[in-house]
Amino acid sequence: MEEFYPVHYNDGVSHQFWFVSTGKRNILKCVQLDMMEETEEYYHLSLLDFDHEQGCLREDIVSNNGDTNRVLSTVAHCMILFLHRFPETKIIFTGNSRSRDRLFQIQMNNQSNKIRLLDVETKLHETGSIIFSITKRKY
């Protein structure tokens, strides 16, 4: 598995895992997990960039930082940490576009095959987006 970046956990209203993407430049990234319904079964995952000037998290930045595999490996690592702590939950995410969906599909399959700790299930939403559902692999 591609080496992942060190992560820092931030507990609040949401669960946040922070790391610094050190590709062409340094970018602060946050993997945020938000409860989707009151049963606490589903958590939505967002991969966000911190906008230092605005002081806020953003999803619409295309960073092209040259470290996609390492970033996605770090996201997979965050999911493992989260599912270790909350083993009965499911992590849900979607891409921002069809091309992102496809990229995530390939990368997540690669990650799960390599680390063998996650099960990745995909469903097609009525909007045409792919929904990724990640659970802790049962042995």
Binding site: S14, L28, Q32, H44, S46, L124
Partner: protein, 53 residues
Amino acid sequence: MKSKESKSIDLSKELEYAMKVAKDQPSPKMERIKPLIPSIIASLKNTDSSDCA
């Protein structure tokens, strides 16, 4: 020109600042998909829906 050590300290301070500022900020992505959550969950619970793995 900054040394590697001072850059590392700056980065660590920036990370600390970001974690403090954004601690309870809602995810813009989560906000965007909120209206779709019921249908997303329905898709996940429906075992007959298309599996595109």
